[in-house]
Symmetry: C2
Subunit: 198 residues, 2 copies
């Protein structure tokens, strides 16, 4: 049905997450219509990203350098570390532009079901950073799933001897409707209530 | 926020149709996790498809060879030509496995609003094929939009002197609900009614 190089491209595109046969076909047809230099730029971007991007040796965020831009930035506060599961969560937090401290990326969550124990995560590096004594607060910013809670409690207990450990708030999302919130979220929102200050 | 090669990859992926910032980020993160040879295979497939795929010199279907597989296939009926707007429609028809004739891909539809006149389409080649006298039927298989109707009527009038010209049926889709069909479709379905044969 498709000429060989086109069939091959469609097959390769289908391996991407969320790309089914129809989408792969549409993407492939679009690529054939693009100028050759655009297609080469995309191919080069793929290979460059794969070859050049590794992990920051300090916080394990995705980085093309040994030390990532956040860790290397002298205007970011060394006294606070925000612990996240992966780089995507770090980027979501960065987009808020609210946080000026540093990060630590665990690289996953403790999940015995999937064979992921604490040794597979970047936990030792965090303990080393915190045990220096210069860190005044560690903010656990991990989704409240079963694995997330396990990880938060495990990591929290390891670093509690060295520093203050906090976690982000869970509750009703802004613009969210109380009526449609699930019971667990509502219970968390009640539990986390704070005094209204005027 | 993103390290340079990753930011560049996300930007390149965002140029694909239907890929927004979130999807581009998810795709890029997935690509970073894939083995290097997989990423190279995808990059190579992109470049190969772009460099090798052109158009069949006879029917203008996408092809890596001068003559496409359908035109070169001796078991396909030379006496019938099905006219479509683009290769995607050809592929949709091929998937039915109902048609054993040849095709002709116009490469678009007549659309004065977009500056596309008959000269921008592969119409002369069709007239040449049909005027040989060996083609017994030309089936117009073009979507019934304003541009589609214009194109069907224009092309049909050019080739009518040489051969029988038919068009595919429009009506209620199989499994479709009569109640929810729009008036135009329903009118077409009435107009195209056929005697029930027992």
């Amino acid at each position: 049905m498709y000429t060989r190089p086109l069939a091959n491209l469609i097959e390769q595109l289908q391996r991407l997450p969320g790309v089914g046969p129809k989408t792969a076909q549409r993407l492939a047809m679009h690529i054939l219509k693009r100028p050759e230099e655009d297609v080469e730029a995309l191919a080069k971007a793929l290979i460059d990203a794969k070859q050049q991007v590794g992990y920051c040796s300090t916080c394990h965020h995705l980085s093309a350098d040994v030390i990532c831009e956040i860790c290397a930035n002298p205007s970011r506060d060394d006294a606070a570390i925000c612990v996240v599961s992966d780089s995507r969560d770090l980027i979501a937090l960065e987009k808020t532009r609210e946080y000026r401290g540093k990060y630590h990326v665990l690289g996953g969550l403790i999940s015995p079901m999937d064979g992921i124990g604490p040794d597979q995560l970047n936990i030792q590096g965090l303990v080393r950073r915190v045990s220096s004594g210069k860190v005044l607060e560690v903010i656990m910013a991990i989704s409240p799933s079963v694995e997330g809670e396990t990880t938060t409690l495990y990591v929290g207990s390891l670093i509690k001897p060295f520093t203050k450990v906090t976690r982000i708030a869970f509750g009703i999302p802004m613009g969210g409707d109380l009526e449609y919130a699930d019971e667990v979220t509502l219970a968390k929102a009640l539990e986390g209530r704070r005094e209204l200050d005027f």
